[in-house]
Symmetry: D2
Subunit: 115 residues, 4 copies
């Protein structure tokens, strides 16, 4: 199982676990996630073009709001899959893991709220 950068808990294994990489809840939506992120990357490059072409500040701010909204929408999708798979799996397994998973998820939500 791979180690996580900052994860306080053991990452949840996939049902077909035991491979080189653990695969998490978002595995099946991987292509959709990558497509969303490439679209957001395009928005950020659009922002660079707007700054470069001296676009009116307010129009740039509107585009920043759209990019932030798209990032949060991606985060919500990821969070939903995390709750459905990793958190639910920990609940089924029982034991102390569910508390750690819920605390970890709540902290992540708190970080999203504070930005």
């Amino acid at each position: 199982m791979t180690t996580t950068e900052a994860g306080a808990t053991a990452p949840c294994e996939s049902e077909q676990g035991g491979h080189e990489h653990a695969t998490y809840g978002y595995h099946k939506q991987k292509d959709e996630h990558l497509k969303r992120l490439r679209r957001i990357e395009g928005q950020i490059r659009g922002l660079q073009r707007m700054v470069d072409e001296d676009t009116y500040c307010i129009d740039i701010l509107t585009q920043v709001s759209a990019s932030t909204k798209a990032l949060q929408s991606f985060a919500l999708q990821l969070l939903e899959e995390h709750l459905r798979h990793c958190v639910a799996d920990a609940a089924v397994k029982g034991g102390a893991e569910i508390d750690a998973k819920v605390e970890e998820a709540t902290k992540a939500i708190g970080r999203l709220l504070r930005t």
Copy 2:
């Protein structure tokens, strides 16, 4: 003067106006803005790599929070320059323009708050 995409008011001219492009408050910080935006673009590409490599969901969410924070920090910087130049200029000129500029800026802040 260039036209704006969505601007409800006439974009504010620079003091040295009359060139091909109107240059707004953020003109002098252009390089700094572009550098910030390129760093955010790098963060978004980092997110794609994380999804691609099946990184643990919570670690991805942490990186999303960092990117959103960076975008909002860019927006605040832009807004400060807009208030200092465009809005303050409208106030000095007098007339109805200041009301329109303030309303427009407030709406932009509202859009940032709601994301």
Copy 3:
């Protein structure tokens, strides 16, 4: 069991369920929640006093930020208990309920994010 105002799913019963009122995850922290909410109520009354006494706008905005932060902190606490009890219980029971609970929780998080 009581019906919910807007809840899309059946509210989760407490382990000692079957009483007149269903009691949810936050039951044990009820006193703490009420204390937090009374403190927030005090902050809102403080805001009324500030407006009434012509306090400087920026100082009022600082107090608004503090109240919003306190409300979000309360929401996070409630959400954590909801995930730990209602969502985890649905996972243990199995069946379709877990999907509905996770979707419902994600939508609630989305509403918090968008304010």
Copy 4:
């Protein structure tokens, strides 16, 4: 002129200044502001009632989102009046005051964004 709690700049005087209290931009909307805040106070008391009556967590979270939105809407209204009066006045007067006012307003917006 009254002193401010945390204000980094001199509070802006009203055009008819020199009275016991400085009156800021939001003076004319005072009644409207107080009405809004009393409505928010009612929402917070409603939250206490919901907790007390063991209302379903998700329904409480929906009400928290509504209260936060109402607080931010109040903040935006106040900010708009502050920009229209205090910031615009500083711009007209000229000198260093406008920079301080804009920096102060931007910091207040940053605090609102981060909650």
